[in-house]
Structures are given as C-alpha cells and as structure tokens.
C-alpha cells in the first residue's frame, strides 16, 4: 500500500467495504464451486469441511460489512446483481484439481487478510470523522482480518501435512 494513504470520508470507506464484500462473494462462490465440481475421491472430509467453513465465514463477513455500510451516509449498491454476476462467472469455470483447491483457498485467505490489513492501516492513518464510531469500525475489521489470518494458517497446515 502507498505510504500515507488515508480513508477520508464515509463514501471512500463504503467503497472499500463494498470491494471487501465482492472479495468475500468471490471466496464463497469459489468454495461452493470446488465443492460441487470435484468428485468424492478428490474431496475428502477435511477439504469438504475447509470449503464449507470458508463459504460460511465469507457469508458472515459479508453480512458484517453490509451492517457497517448500512450505518454510513452513502447510497446502497445492488448486491443481488453482483452476487448473480459472480455466480455466473464461476458457473463457467472448469473444475480444478485437488492441489488447485488448497492453493486457491490459500490465495483467497491471503488476499482477504492483506486487504483488511491495508484498509485498517488507511483508517488508522486518517483523522476523518466517520458516521460510525472509529474504534468500533476498526474492532470489526480487525476481527474479520484475524479470522482470515487463522484461515491462512489452517490451509498452510493442511498443505504441509499433505506434502
């Protein structure tokens, strides 16, 4: 991230959180897609659990981000349409192999972790007043970031065990 980048308004903050929601949509869609497309042999119980947990966690993160946006002074974005677009995009993707699933999950978790970490840094660098309490905002985003970090560790552990 650029040194000194700051989030300076409700509008800018909402836009970043909307991007977070789309990233979560992508994680959820990819997890379900892997779950549906891979056969029983490739998808053992541990991977199945990992994917369902990832999808559930992303849905939960989305609703937490949406709750924050609802409290900001901004126009809403039609997320149903975006959800449909993401699903349509992944519906066309060919099934990937087993290593691809784990690697893909690792990329998902790492990307999300990096994104929330950058957003928190940009909020903390700013002295702007948001409609939502800053401390509450940072606490919410830090909790989501920490869950993504735990996700990175979990996938890494599974990958190492299977080497």
């Amino acid at each position: 991230m650029s040194v000194g980048y700051q989030v300076t308004s409700d509008h800018q903050l909402a836009r970043l959180l909307q991007i977070g929601i789309v990233l979560e949509e992508v994680v959820e869609a990819r997890a379900y897609h892997h779950y549906d497309e891979l056969d029983e042999e490739e998808l053992d119980e541990e991977i199945r659990d990992l994917l369902s947990h990832a999808a559930e966690e992303s849905a939960d993160h989305r609703s937490r981000l949406e709750a924050v946006i609802d409290r900001l002074d901004v126009d809403s974005v039609p997320f149903e349409e975006i959800e449909a677009l993401v699903e349509a995009q992944y519906g066309q993707t060919k099934p990937e192999d087993f290593d691809g699933v784990l690697y893909d999950q690792l990329c998902n978790e790492e990307t999300a972790y990096k994104f929330y970490d950058d957003v928190i840094e940009a909020i903390e660098a700013s002295d702007a007043q948001f409609t939502i309490d800053r401390e509450e905002l940072v606490t919410t985003l830090a909790a989501i970031r920490d869950e993504e970090e735990a996700g990175v560790e979990k996938v890494t552990q599974i990958m190492e065990e299977r080497e």
Partner: protein, 150 residues
C-alpha cells in the same frame, strides 16, 4: 499499489503521450505533487534501476521500469473496469485514482476474475481519456463519453 508503482505508471503514460522522456513538471502535475517531491521519487526510481533521468530532457523508464509500469497500469485498468462495470460507479476515473494506493496487484487479480478485460490490456489504455478505449460505461464507450463531456 505502492507509491513507486504509481510513479512508474505515470512516467510510462507520459512517455506514451509525448513519445519521448517524461518532463518532471508534467510528472508532478499528473501525480499532483510538488516538483521537488517528484524529483525525490525520480532519484529513488533511478537508484532501484527503474528509471533514468537526464537533465533538461526528463525521465525515461528502463526495461525493468517498463515491466513494473505495465503491471501497475493493468492493476489500474482492473480497478477502473471493476468500478465502472461491476459497481456501476459513474465517476469511476476519479474513484480509481483514489483507490489505486490501497488496491494492490493481489487484490486486483481477484477482482479481475469477475470482469471482462480485453486481451490487449494494458495497451488499450488511452492516457488522454484516462480509461481503456474498450471500456463500456452504461452502453457508451469511455472515449465517446469524455468527448461528449468536452
């Protein structure tokens, strides 16, 4: 994308527009910084082997600098296209510039999976209109929309 990447991208676009070295003043204008700040960053880019500066002529990217600039431009194109086509943001250029520092290549790669980008990217980026020439905004191509606004 970090500050150095934003600078190499700006130098690349100025070189394309001028068909030669980028003038320091033009670079400072494009980055909305003072000429002294632009000079300081040019020095850093030189020390990293990304650019070469010649007095009275301007700054030119090295081969490594061009690779970095094209990657940064591609990230920028993804942000613009994502804002315009997925989030339906009317002021997508201004917002892309605002968001550019906080969206790095890894995040842009994820956003790229849900947009339809031209295979020529980033060569189809038009520095004059600050948008991809194929970017379709509400059924009107970006270039046409800008011309109409002028």
């Amino acid at each position: 994308m970090n500050t150095a990447d934003q600078y190499v991208k700006a130098i690349y676009l100025l070189q394309e527009m001028e068909n030669g070295p980028a003038a320091t003043g033009a670079l400072a204008d494009m980055m909305d910084v003072s000429p002294a700040s632009a000079n300081e960053m040019i020095g850093k880019l030189e020390s990293r082997g990304l650019a070469e500066h010649e007095k009275y002529k301007g700054v030119t990217l090295t081969d490594d600098g061009i690779i970095r600039a094209r990657d940064a431009l591609q990230t920028y194109c993804i942000i613009e296209r994502f804002l315009a086509n997925v989030l339906d943001v009317e002021e997508f250029r201004a917002e892309a510039r605002e968001l550019e520092p906080v969206i790095d290549g890894m995040i842009a790669d994820r956003l790229d999976t849900i947009i339809d980008r031209n295979s020529e990217c980033p060569d189809c980026f038009d520095p004059e209109t600050d948008a991809c020439e194929y970017l379709d905004v509400c059924g009107v191509e970006a270039e046409t929309e800008t011309e109409a606004a002028d």
